[in-house]
């Protein structure tokens, strides 16, 4: 076999492998149960769910209809990614000004056991007042996590305590309640701002 032929085989094998990898990962939404999201279609994404805001107001998927919103999961016993996301969002919304009125940011706790409405109400005073913290009982929490094809898990740690694993990204939903993409607060600031402006319809 000539060297040229060997080289061709090697190249085509590499291309085939690469295509396989790309196909394998396409449609994959990080941190979410992509099988479920894809299997049931986008119509199911975002609902149904029913939760209580830190202000005490009842909020469900129907209440949110007609205005874009963004959703991220977290808990107050998280010292790192959760407050960072909330502080960053606060900064970004200040920069956007009234444009940020055009979407509803939702912070949904995956730790309703410790994150009572009272805890959330105090916690949220540090952030942009347009950000809504939501909690539900165990069944309601399970339902909303499922609605966004997200993930959470209670993890026991030493001393009888626990921590929560949860989907890290921000899920964007358009005014019709359709999935409109994801956002990572660690992306370049301009990218994040562009995504938020697009969500706001600017």
């Amino acid at each position: 076999m000539s060297a040229v032929k060997l080289f061709r085989i090697a190249v085509w094998t590499a291309i085939a492998l690469l295509c396989g990898i790309l196909i394998g990962f396409s449609g994959y939404l990080p941190g979410t149960n992509s099988k479920e999201a894809l299997g049931t279609g986008t119509a199911r994404f975002g609902g149904p769910f029913q939760l209580t805001a830190h202000s005490g107001e009842a909020i469900d998927n129907a209440t949110l209809a007609g205005k874009p919103y963004l959703v991220f999961f977290g808990f107050t016993h998280c010292p790192d990614i959760c407050p960072t996301t909330l502080f960053e969002l606060t900064d970004l919304m200040a920069e956007m000004g009234p444009l940020a009125d055009r979407f509803t940011p939702l912070f949904i706790t995956v730790d309703p056991e410790r994150d009572t409405q009272e805890v959330l109400a105090q916690y949220m005073t540090a952030f942009d007042q347009r950000i809504v913290a939501l909690r539900g009982n165990q069944a309601e929490t399970d339902a909303v996590v499922k609605a966004f094809a997200a993930y959470y898990r209670k993890v026991p740690i030493e001393g009888g305590r626990y921590t929560m694993d949860h989907t890290a990204g921000i899920i964007l939903m358009d005014a019709k309640g359709n999935f409109a993409g994801t956002l990572d607060i660690h992306e370049p600031r301009d990218t994040v701002l562009a995504k938020l402006r697009r969500l706001a319809g600017a």
Partner: protein, 162 residues
């Protein structure tokens, strides 16, 4: 007899000032710019960060952190894997000889549990670090909104002077 309160007080007096980066040292361990994020009111936890450098020939370990501002403090490592954020306690942080451990870069943080006060931008608070070999050192955390700028100059400074 060594009085910890005095040491903390001295640290306070000497450190209150315009210094944006601050260093501490115990034996061969250098502690660079301990800082913490501001917390929302009544936040159950606060995260602290720093850079540790072991310039000695032997490995050491950060085994304990305490602070009068928190009920307890632990070393935690966060991860985002397949889009899922997680966090686990670290049982002692290994410091290999000649290696610098940047908490932020390595997704590590000191988890201050049950902060007794809300941490606000510009605040400073004391903490004590215990290393297995180098011993105990009092440090001061600075509360700042943004992660510190990469201390590139500091690092090159260490490199050329050591």
């Amino acid at each position: 007899m060594f009085k910890k309160t005095t040491a903390v007080l001295v640290a306070y007096v000497t450190l209150v000032g315009p210094a944006s980066a601050h260093d501490f040292k115990v034996g061969v361990i250098e502690i660079n710019h301990p800082w913490s994020r501001p917390t929302p009111p009544f936040a159950p936890v606060a995260g602290g960060y720093m850079t540790l450098k072991n310039s000695g020939p032997d490995s050491d370990r950060l085994v304990q952190v305490t602070s009068p501002i928190a009920a307890r403090a632990e070393i935690h490592r966060s991860a985002v894997e397949d889009g899922v954020a997680s966090m686990r306690p670290v049982d002692g942080l290994a410091l290999e000889p000649g290696v610098t451990v940047d908490f932020e870069a390595e997704k590590l943080h000191i988890m201050f549990i049950g902060p007794k006060q809300q941490l606000q931008d510009g605040d400073k608070f004391p903490a004590t670090l215990v290393f297995e070999k180098a011993g105990t050192v009092d440090v001061e955390f600075v509360v700042q909104r943004k992660a510190s700028e990469p201390a590139a100059e500091d690092h090159s400074g260490h490199g050329s002077s050591n």
